[in-house]
C-alpha cells in the first residue's frame, strides 16, 4: 500500500511543471495571447465601471439638470451632457451594469437551457432527439426580432424582459454544440463501462456526460456574451428593450441622439464607443479562451 501512495505522489507532472503563481500565469497569458489579454483588460475595466459607478461620478444618471443641457465635453462633464442635462459619462458608467447584466444573464440562461436540451437530446436519442432537433430548427429559423417584439408587447419594454428576447435565439445554437459533444462523449468506452456496471441513467448523465460538456458550454457562454450585449443595444435602440430613463447604451443612441446629432454629436458618439469596446473586449477574450480550451477550433 505504501508504495502505491509514493507512486501517486511523485507524478511526473509535478516535477516537470512547477506550480505557477497567479501572477506568473497572467504574465504567461499576456505573452501568449496579447489580444485575449487586451480583451480581458477591457472586461476588467467594464466590471470596475459597473461596480463602482456610484463612487466614480458625482452625478446622478437619472436626474435631469436643465441648467447644463447640451454641454460640450468639458472639465466638469468629460463626455458632455444630453438633452436633459444628464452627464453622458455617468450614464455610460451606469449603463455598463445593464450591458453586463443582460449579457451575462441572457447568455447563461440561453446556453444553460440549450445545453440541458442538448444533453437530454443526445442521451435520450430516438424520437426525443428527433423532436428536439425539429424544435431547435424552428427556433433557429424564427426571426429574433419578431420574438423580441412579441416579448416587448406582452411583458412591456424593460431590461428584464429583453433578457428573454436575447436568450431565446441562443438556446438552439447552444443545444446544437452541446448535443454534438454529448453524442461523441456518449460513444466513449468508459460511458459504456459505467452503464454496464449498472450505473443509473441519472448517474451516467450527471457524473459522466455533464462534466465532459462543460468546456464547450463555457466556450459558448463567452462566445455569446458579446453578441448578447450587441443584441440588447439593438433592441433598446429600436425601443424594444430598456425603457427611458434607464441608462442603456442602445437606448442612449435612439431617438434624441440622432435628432440632436448635429448640435451635440457627443450624445451619439460615446455610447456607441462604449458598446463597441465592450463587445470587442468580450469577443477578443472569448476567442482566446476558445483557442486555449479547444485546440480543434484554434484560430477560428
Amino acid at each position: 500500500m505504501a508504495t502505491n501512495v509514493e507512486l501517486s505522489r511523485s507524478t511526473p507532472i509535478a516535477d516537470v511543471a512547477p506550480r505557477l503563481s497567479v501572477l506568473e500565469e497572467i504574465v504567461g497569458f499576456v505573452r501568449k495571447k496579447p489580444l485575449g489579454a487586451a480583451g480581458g483588460l477591457i472586461i476588467v475595466v467594464m466590471l470596475a465601471a459597473a461596480i463602482f459607478a456610484g463612487a466614480l461620478t458625482p452625478y446622478d444618471p437619472y436626474q435631469a439638470d436643465y441648467g447644463v443641457q447640451f454641454a460640450r465635453p468639458n472639465a466638469d462633464h468629460w463626455f458632455g451632457t444630453d438633452e436633459f442635462g444628464r452627464d453622458v459619462l455617468t450614464r455610460i458608467l451606469y449603463g455598463a451594469r445593464i450591458a453586463l447584466f443582460v449579457g451575462f444573464t441572457a447568455s447563461m440562461t440561453g446556453c444553460t437551457l440549450g445545453g440541458l436540451l442538448g444533453v437530454t437530446s443526445a442521451y435520450a436519442g430516438g424520437k426525443v432527439d428527433l423532436l428536439m432537433e425539429r424544435l431547435m430548427d424552428v427556433l433557429l429559423a424564427f426571426p429574433q426580432l419578431i420574438l423580441a417584439l412579441a416579448v416587448a408587447s406582452i411583458l412591456g419594454p424593460a431590461v428584464e424582459n429583453v433578457v428573454i428576447a436575447v436568450a431565446i435565439p441562443i438556446i438552439p445554437r447552444a443545444a446544437r454544440v452541446v448535443r454534438a459533444t454529448a453524442l461523441s462523449v456518449k460513444e466513449n468506452v468508459y460511458v459504456e463501462a459505467v452503464s454496464a456496471l449498472g450505473a443509473s441513467r441519472r448517474r451516467v448523465v450527471l457524473q459522466h456526460i455533464l462534466p465532459n460538456v462543460v468546456a464547450p458550454y463555457i466556450i459558448m457562454v463567452t462566445a455569446q456574451l458579446g453578441g448578447a450585449i450587441l443584441a440588447e443595444a439593438a433592441l433598446s435602440y429600436l425601443g424594444l428593450g430598456a425603457a427611458e430613463p434607464t441608462p442603456s447604451w442602445g437606448l442612449m443612441l435612439s431617438g434624441s441622439a440622432s435628432a440632436y446629432a448635429e448640435k451635440a454629436p457627443w450624445i451619439a458618439l460615446f455610447p456607441g464607443i462604449a458598446i463597441s469596446l465592450a463587445v470587442f473586449g468580450f469577443n477578443l477574450f472569448g476567442d482566446s479562451l476558445r483557442d486555449a480550451l479547444d485546440p480543434k477550433l484554434r484560430g477560428r
Binding site: D137, I146, G272, G299
Partner: protein
Amino acid sequence: MRTYITKRLLLIVPTLFGVAALVFVIMRVIPGDVTLLILGGDQAGRIDPAQIAAMKHQLGLDQPLLVQFGTWLWGVLRFDFGTSLWTGQPVIEELLIRLPLSLELALLASMVSVVIAIPLGMLAAVRQDSWVDYVVRVVSIGGLAIPSFWIGILCILLLVIYFGWGPPLEFTPPWVDPWANFQQMVWPVVTVGYRYAAVTTRMTRSTVLEVLREDYIRTAWAKGLRERVVVVRHALKNAMLPVITLIGTEFAFLIGGLVVTETVFTLNGVGRFVVDAVAHRDYPVVQALVFLIAFSFVIVNLLVDLTYAWFDPRIRYR
C-alpha cells in the same frame, strides 16, 4: 444522394409548420386588437360594439382560431398569403414593393463582403501571427463589435454636416436611375457590408489556416510551386466550403433582418415592413413574412449542404 435530398426536403415540412404555428400563436397572444386599431385607435372605448363585430366578420376574425389557422395554411400551400388587413392589398403585392430594395441591399453587401473578406482572410492566414494578421483580426473583430446602427448614425451625421445630405424619401430602383440609386444605397451597403465582411474574413482566415496544415499543401510546396499557386489553387479552393455556407446563411438573414439599418437610413425594406405589420397587428402580413423568411433560411441551408457534396465528392450523405 437522392434519398438524402428527399429526406431533407421532408424535414423542412415540420420545421416550417412549427414556424407557422409559432407565429400564429404569438400574433394572437400579443395584446391589441386589429379591429380597434383600424376603427379608431385610442378612441376604441367609444366605438359601437356592432361596428366592431361587423369589422371582425368582414376580416374573418370571428371564426374559431383553428379554422383561421387552417384557412391560412391552406392558402399558403397554394401560394396565396392572403390580403393585408390594413390596405386590403394582397400580401405578395405589398411585399414585391419592398423586395427589390432589400434584395439589392443584401446582394451589394454580399459582394462588398466577398471582395474584401476573401483576400484579407487569406492574407491573414498565410502571414499568420505577423502584423498583417493582427491588423486584419483586430479590424474584423471590430466589425463584429461595432453596432451597425451606430455606424449608420455616424455616416448620416458626417453626410448631413459636411454634404448637406438628406435621407431619401422614396426608393429609386437601379434600372430607373442608377446614379440616384447608388447615392441612396452606398451608405447602407457600407454599413452592412463591413459587419458582413468581418464575419467572412474571420471564417476565411480560420479555414485557410486549417487547410494550410494539410498534407497535400506540403506536397504542393515540395513540388516547388509558387506561393500564389499553392495558396490560391490548392488552399483557397478547398477552404471555400465553410465560407460559402456563411455567405449563404448571412444572405438569407439580410433579406429580412436589416430592420435596424433600414430604420437608421429610413429605407422602406422588408425588415421594417415586418415590424410595422406587428405594430398594426396585421396578422396575414406578419405570418406571411415570418413564414417566407423562415422558408428562405431553411432552403438556403439545404442548398449550402448540397453544395458541400457537389464541391467535395468525399462527402456522401446518407
